[in-house]
């Protein structure tokens, strides 16, 4: 039963220190990013740390499910289920037994833009583990038996969720926003498209995407730079230099639509889409802070205060600034009881209109800056795997190894006027709104409020 922390809007600065202390705390640990280049030129970012005897590696190849050929949707997703199902001269069972004996956990996944892989191992079994990872990356087998088994599991997942209104809602939402762009297509595929995928399709995808030029690597744990460099060549040295990716056009979500989907559910779900801001635009950080104040991850959110805390209309309401490689948007999501959905939508629209017209207060902006600067370490550096993921994420976004320190300066430079300008630019646009829920009966007095 996780609890979404609450928040009061009044920005009272604390008048007195929280606690007088005579104790001096020790200096903080530092997380240091190093750049490592292998003898043959493969690059990675490394965080060396010996306090837990494990090593985590994560890597990403640009080119995810947006690369699925038309009619073969679900290919990227299927291929990621097959890397631990046999490689080199090891069939599926032999590979998994060796992996288990090596004390390692291997994972692969896909999103629209990326195929990523990761491995977590005990440091003293590093050589066996990396040996298996090398095989998986270079020589996956794509035997028919595991293909059929993994396909059956994915098909089962599609059938299992086919009747779920959330699935329908997601499909309608993507189609409404992205029309015929690859972003409108399902990353999972359909029963038909999955059934059409052959071992040759998988091999072609592997050859096209697994190359050194579109590769990003992060390594964290009990391993030094020299050893890490050697591992990079071992894992990736034999891959081709260049991928052969299909270009994906940039797009913007189609706004201004009103969609209603009727379904007998205990709550009405409300989805809204506004324009977004790309990472390369000068007002990106202003938009980022505006989103946090409006409905972001911190408790300093106006929407949480107005919709949840003051009125008890929802358990959870949030907005997110979505940055995909080819499209940007600002999305809102919440759910409330059906007979109060219109009221909830009204409150949301009032909060958004006020932000568009007036922007944030000085105090709100100051608070949220502290929050987003401080929370970075908590969210991005909480485990070896999280750090490895952060290292790869920064590289995928084209950011430098000094980003951690630059980010603070970029955030601190944002002014109230910057946020106000970006709020007006984004939020004065008519959004696309989708309501998913039961037919609304004539309003009755709320039964549960005394």
């Amino acid at each position: 039963m996780n609890f979404m922390p609450s928040l009061r809007r009044h920005l009272v600065l604390l008048a007195t220190p929280l606690l007088m202390l005579l104790v001096v705390l020790p200096a903080h640990a530092e997380v240091e990013f190093q750049k490592v280049t292998s003898p043959s030129g493969v690059e990675a970012w490394l965080v060396e740390d010996y306090s837990v005897p494990i090593i985590a590696i994560r890597f990403a190849f640009e080119g995810g499910s947006a690369q699925d050929p038309a009619g073969k949707e679900g290919l990227a997703n299927l291929i990621t289920a097959l890397f631990d199902e046999g490689a080199g001269d090891l069939d599926s069972e032999a590979f998994q037994i060796k992996l288990d004996d090596a004390g390692a956990e291997m994972g692969f996944g896909a999103d629209r833009e990326t195929i990523y892989g990761s491995m977590r191992m005990l440091a003293d079994q590093r050589e066996e583990a990396f040996g298996l990872l090398k095989l998986a990356i270079e020589q996956p087998r794509f035997d028919q038996n595991p293909i059929d088994r993994m396909r059956a599991q994915l098909v089962s997942g599609i059938v299992a969720s086919a009747q779920n209104p959330a699935t329908t809602a997601q499909r309608l939402w993507n189609e409404a926003l992205f029309g015929t762009h690859p972003y409108a297509r399902s990353t999972d595929g359909t029963v038909e498209t999955l059934n059409s995928i052959t071992a040759d399709d998988l091999r072609a995808f592997h050859t096209a995407v697994f190359a050194r030029e579109n590769l990003h690597v992060g390594i964290v744990g009990a391993i030094d730079a020299e050893t890490a460099a050697a591992v990079l060549d071992q894992l990736f040295g034999a891959l081709p230099e260049k991928p052969t990716l299909t270009p994906v056009p940039d797009t913007a979500p189609l706004l201004g639509q009103d969609l209603h989907v009727e379904y007998a559910l205990p709550q009405t779900n409300i989805y809204m889409a506004y324009p977004g801001v790309s990472r390369s635009e000068p007002d990106f950080f202003a938009a980022y802070l505006m989103n946090e104040i409006l409905g972001g991850g911190s408790v300093l959110s106006r929407l949480t205060d107005e919709v949840r805390e003051k009125r008890g209309l929802t358990y959870n309401i949030s907005t997110s600034l979505i940055n995909q490689r080819h499209s940007n948007s600002l999305m809102l999501g919440t759910a409330t009881r059906a007979d109060r959905a219109e009221e909830t939508l009204g409150v949301i629209e009032d909060v958004i209109a006020k932000m568009a017209a007036e922007g944030p207060t000085e105090a709100e902006l100051a608070s949220v800056k502290k929050y987003v600067i401080g929370s970075y370490a908590l969210n991005e550096l909480s485990s070896s795997s999280a750090i490895a993921s952060t290292l790869v994420g920064l590289q995928l976004r084209g950011l430098g190894i000094d980003y951690l320190s630059e980010r603070t300066d970029l955030i601190n430079a944002v002014t109230v006027d910057d946020v106000k300008a970006v709020a007006a630019k984004l939020l004065e646009t008519k959004p696309t709104i989708m309501l998913l829920g039961p037919k609304v009966e004539p309003a009755a007095a709320p039964a549960t409020t005394p």
């Binding site: 609890f3 922390p5 929280l18 104790v23 837990v52 502290k370 929050y371 908590l378």
Partner: protein, 436 residues
């Protein structure tokens, strides 16, 4: 960066400190200097299974209300202070415990300890915060339970599996009882259970034990001890003499599934070695891709999409061992259920091999080492086990106890506890007519 200054054995883990304040608060410190982060958690030894009859959901509702402020720190001040230093805070309630936690940079730890100590006895609840927060909880129930056929079935299956023990009651509460919860209920529960002598403080992260001890003296140590609580004895299960089924048909369900459960002992209540054997039994039967279910039913026979086993050995009272599965392609749910039963019967009859037991032990112990990579996982393991009556030694000796399990013990617990004639099975089925 720590480079082995407090080098540790791969298995025993970090150098953990454990002490108790004069007011009865047990404190655990788990050093982890990899990043400038500290996790601060207070675990109260009270959960939904301790609720008075008719007041289901009060433990969880109080958890929400704990954010409504004290005399020294009005509502919102704590969350604002956490957010302003970039921290995260949250709380959760289970059958057995209620925990509050923050993840912050180490220099904010004193403030977190001050806030948490302050609301341990100092909660102020005005009548006006009750209604809106109860509506939030009702929306939470609609979202988590009413909105999910799987959650609805799980709730009903638990209510059938436990005939007398309060684990039959959902932690969030029954809808009609949540609607009636009030301020008096919340305060009664709070005054009874929220006190240092009914709590465990866990601090994991970039801090040392001496610092924590000094900080605890200026914060938690000043909270007065509460009344001694009587022994925590809940209504217990009678002998189970039947097999029962619970069926939910829902238009949102696309593929049928089943889950069969038994009430079994746990680490606190089992005979020595039995809980460890049950953990390894779950691993061998259905703990992942090396398990018997996966290898036989999913890979070799191709009958199931998934089939697995779960054991919850960490609860305070005897909890459940569960087997589950769902069919692949044109195979029926009955086929999967029959295969799962056949695998269980085979194991009861012939036992397990030394090789598969050793492999299961290795995976289990490895997962304990991997858990050390996430500070919050470590805090969760120590907090939940200690709040449920275990000692530090129970946790540090866990790998050795797992290694000591014999094939005979695994076979014995399967035969003793997993009698198919005395189980409860929940079926989640599509509606005959598909979507309504």
């Amino acid at each position: 960066m720590s480079t082995g200054a407090w080098a540790q054995d791969a298995e025993t883990g970090p150098d953990i400190a454990n002490f108790t304040l004069e007011n009865g608060l047990e404190v655990v410190v788990i050093p982890d200097h990899r990043a400038p982060i500290v996790t601060h958690m207070v675990w109260y030894k009270v959960g939904s299974a301790d609720e008075p009859p008719g007041k289901s959901g009060i433990a969880h509702f109080l958890e929400h209300l704990m954010f409504k402020g004290t005399e020294r720190h009005p509502a919102g001040e704590m969350e604002r202070a956490i957010a302003e230093i970039g921290g995260e805070g949250n709380a959760f309630t289970t059958n057995d415990v209620t925990a509050y936690f923050q993840t912050v940079s180490p220099d904010a730890l004193p403030a977190m300890m001050d806030f948490e100590a302050d609301r341990m006895r100092g909660l102020v609840l005005s009548e006006e915060v009750i209604g809106a927060e109860r509506d939030v909880v009702l929306e939470e129930r609609r979202m988590r339970v009413e909105g999910s056929p799987q959650a609805l079935l799980t709730e009903e299956t638990s209510a059938t599996l436990y005939q007398n023990h309060p684990y039959r009651i959902p932690t969030i509460g029954w809808m009609h009882e949540i609607e009636q919860l009030n301020r008096t209920d919340a305060l009664d529960f709070y005054h009874r259970y929220y006190a240092p002598n009914n709590a465990v403080l866990v601090i994991a992260g970039d801090v040392d034990a001496d610092t924590v001890r000094a900080l605890a003296e200026t914060t938690y140590a000043k909270v007065p001890r509460g009344p001694d609580l009587p022994a925590r004895i809940r209504p217990s299960e009678p002998e189970h003499n039947t097999s029962r089924t619970v069926t939910l048909k829902d238009p949102r369900v696309g593929i049928p599934s089943f889950a069969t459960g038994w009430v079994v002992p746990n680490y606190r209540t089992a005979e020595p070695g039995e809980a460890e054997a049950l953990d390894l039994l779950a691993e061998i039967l259905g703990g992942g891709t090396r398990s018997r279910f996966y290898q036989q039913i999913v890979v070799k026979d191709g009958i199931a999409t998934a089939a697995g086993a779960n054991y919850d050995g960490g609860a305070y009272d005897p909890s459940s061992f569960t087997l589950y599965g769902l069919p692949q392609g044109d195979h029926t749910l009955a086929d999967v259920e029959a295969e799962v039963s056949a695998q269980l019967e085979l194991l009861i009859k012939d036992g397990v091999t030394t090789a598969e037991l050793e492999s299961a032990k290795m995976r289990f112990v490895r997962s304990l080492i991997f858990a050390r990579d996430r500070q919050s996982s470590m805090a969760n393991i120590y907090g939940s086990r200690l709040a449920n009556g275990s000692t530090i030694a129970d946790i540090t000796e866990w790998p050795d106890r797992i290694r000591a399990v014999t094939p005979e013990q695994v076979q014995a617990v399967a035969a003793k506890y997993l009698n198919p004639a005395l189980s409860v099975t929940g079926y989640l089925l599509p509606s005959e007519n598909g979507a309504k």
